[in-house]
């Protein structure tokens, strides 16, 4: 964000300049072992030859990427055309994750706003209440959501008891249920960064906007949203990225009827297909997509701050 005067950093860093690399060593080692190494390993695997029923043979090949992008027919003897199967799975996952992000934003923003505008003494209580469910394992939370949504679950029984509906709504094993699951799983990742941004927000800006003829809506649009944008962007990334690779919600709540990126990759490593290079290639393609999105965002951010 703007607000830092140029020249604010850099001065006085002489003390650290000499020791910097040495002090950073543990960080670099950590990043190297836990971040770079697995990615490099996966990148290498994606170019290896698959071994039947899992494993790899150390012969380099583009077969995995060929399988991902090119369709040669069921028996592999037709002229190559674009393979839409996996692109379709990716697109569905991106769409699903995008939708979940939008829902999380629509609910998360007012929630964060509400909490951040409470008196300081009650804020921590609200935050605590929001995070409580997340002390429970994700699997268990997803399963409990399944209990809630099923035909004989409390939600349907309540609606039937009120007389609003006479037959249970088919909620489970639908995209709606997947959305509910993703929303429930990742809402706090939206709320917390926005909360942090709103808490820092200078409310006199809202008064200034009202003073300059903005009604509530234009104030939100022209002043508040741009001011808390970093929190919103952080929240969206924190929801979108894990939603993209999620497989618990699609499997348990969506009935696993269609592959998501996550379950497609899982199937390659754990399932009967046992095609490790292909799983690695799919993961690399996903990683590349995410990196591109983050890079674009970083670029835009830098340009705006200038």
């Amino acid at each position: 964000m703007a607000g830092v005067a140029p020249g604010g950093s850099g001065s006085g860093s002489d003390i650290y300049r000499g020791n910097g690399p040495r002090l950073m060593l543990p960080v670099w080692v950590f990043i190297g072992i836990f971040l770079l190494l697995p990615v490099i390993l996966m990148a290498v695997y994606s170019f290896l030859t698959k071994e039947f029923r899992g494993g790899v043979i150390w012969d380099f090949t583009l077969a995995a990427y060929d399988q991902f992008f090119l369709n040669r027919g069921l028996f592999g003897d037709e002229p190559a055309t674009i393979e839409w199967t996996y692109i379709g799975i990716f697109w569905r996952s991106i769409w699903q994750a995008g939708l979940a992000t939008v829902f999380c934003l629509l609910i998360g923003f007012p929630t964060a706003w509400y909490v951040a505008t409470r008196p300081a003494s009650t804020r921590s209580v609200w935050l605590f209440l929001i995070t409580i469910p997340y002390w429970v394992n994700l699997l268990i939370r997803t399963v409990s959501m399944k209990f809630l949504l099923r035909d004989t679950g409390p939600l349907n029984e309540f609606l039937m008891w009120t007389g609003l509906i006479s037959d249970p709504l088919s909620l489970i094993n639908t995209n709606f249920a997947v959305q509910v699951g993703l929303f429930y799983s990742y809402l706090p990742f939206m709320v917390l960064p926005i909360y942090a941004a709103v808490e820092r927000y200078d409310f006199s800006l809202s008064e200034a906007a009202a003073d300059l003829y903005c009604n509530n809506w234009t104030t939100l649009r022209l002043v508040i949203l741009p001011a808390v944008k970093p929190g919103i962007v952080a929240g969206c990334i924190l929801v979108f990225v894990p939603s993209l690779g999620a497989f618990l919600a699609p499997d348990l709540l969506g009935g696993a009827k269609t592959f998501m990126i996550g379950s497609l990759i899982e199937e390659q490593f754990k399932g009967a297909a046992g095609n490790w290079p292909f799983g690695a290639a799919a993961a690399m393609i996903l990683l590349t997509l995410v990196m591109v999105v983050l890079l674009i965002h970083a670029r835009v951010q830098v340009r705006e701050d200038r």
Binding site: F52, R53, G54, G55, L74, F75, T85, Y86, G88, I89, F147, R150, D151, T152, S170, I172, N173, D251, L252, G254, G255, A256, K257, T258, F259, L264, E267, F269, K270, G271, A272, A273, G274, N275
Partner: protein, 341 residues
């Protein structure tokens, strides 16, 4: 004070020594062996037993391939997986005289195609894979796989199928009358068309939830293993296990001695222990499948002994899932991916 510390340390050393007398590391399916039986073995042989679980034969294979071989003493692969694991060199061998109870194995389960003469495995439980129907939601005839693959209106949208290509595509092949591991184009296309056409009627794909969806009523019909269906019935689900006229999958899970087992002796003791009729019956009473061991009958709970799931009619056809060669397997994988894309 010092004396006290020394004494404590000594006591702890002794305790550790007692615990380390023997170890056994089991890699097993989830929910497939009663804890009491493990405790019994641990007490009888003074062995510390630890167990990790997996949820499919493929997951077992993947884990062992990814470096878990050498960590476990025994695992419990299904029939076709025994063959795959043997081909991969993941199994150790034993001689019948290393297992005093070897003779308890029923004759029909000694010379099996996946381990002829039983050199690496012993029978654990066998059963069938078919499907069950909720009789409160459907009261029509129940004798055909058509209920899954060409569903009547009452069942449409309320069917769960197993989320493993092997089982679901094999049942589909049985229904379509197509041999397993075929490479015939027309047959594969027909199989592809069959599952594609049936999928809109299916509510979900799930293996570990196969019982729960029937108990909860989420599914009115669902592919399921025989013992799991019996358990669903025991939990109050009004389900009937169907023996389809087109045939069903028969499988046998086997306790396999893993290569590089860290505690080979204890592994053999455990396998011998499981061949004891009383212990084999304990597994059957728990898992509700059928043991491959002689002399079990007197130890079985009556409801298990007489369960409809474990007593198929004589004329029903059962087939083992075959492990296909690589060039054929990719075709089945493609059909499966195509189904879930």
């Amino acid at each position: 004070m010092k004396t006290f510390l020394t004494t404590t340390a000594l006591a702890m050393t002794l305790a550790t020594a007692a615990a380390a007398e023997g170890e056994l590391k089991i890699y097993h399916w989830f929910e497939y062996i009663p804890q009491e039986l493990l405790d019994k073995f641990a007490a009888e042989y003074d062995v510390t037993v630890t167990m990790d679980t997996y949820d499919s034969n493929e997951a077992l294979l993947a884990a062992l391939k990814a470096g878990k071989l050498g960590e476990y003493d025994v695992a419990v692969p299904g029939d076709y997986m025994v063959k795959i694991m043997a081909d991969e060199g993941m199994l150790d061998t034993f001689t019948p005289d290393e297992l005093p109870n070897f003779g308890n194995i029923q004759d029909q389960w000694v010379d099996v195609e996946f381990d002829n003469g039983r050199h690496s495995t012993i029978p654990y439980q066998w059963g069938s894979t078919s499907f069950s129907v909720n009789t409160e939601m459907y009261d029509g005839p129940m004798d055909s796989l058509s209920l899954i693959f060409d569903a009547p209106d009452e069942l449409k949208g309320k069917i769960n199928v197993l989320d493993t290509a092997g089982e679901t595509l094999t049942l589909a092949s049985l229904y379509a009358g197509i041999p397993q591991c075929t490479s015939d184009r027309e047959q594969l296309k027909a199989l592809n068309a069959l599952v594609q056409g049936a999928k809109p009627d299916w509510a979900s794909f799930g293996s570990d939830v196969a019982k729960d969806v029937l108990v909860s009523g989420d599914a009115a019909a669902g592919m399921i293993w025989s013992g799991f269906s019996a358990k669903a019935r025991a939990e109050g689900a009004p389900v009937q296990y169907v023996f389809p006229k087109e045939g069903m999958i028969v499988w046998m899970d086997n306790v396999a001695l893993l290569k590089d087992a860290p505690n080979r002796d204890n592994a053999l003791k455990f396998m011998n222990f499981l061949l004891e009729p009383e212990n084999a019956a304990a597994v059957t009473n728990y898992a509700q499948y059928t043991a491959g061991v002689d002399g079990v009958a007197e130890f079985l709970d009556p409801e298990v002994a007489n369960s409809p799931e474990a007593n198929p009619p004589a004329d029903v056809k059962g087939v083992f899932v075959q492990s296909c060669p690589e060039e054929v397997q990719v075709l089945y994988d493609a059909i499966w991916t195509n189904l879930k894309k």
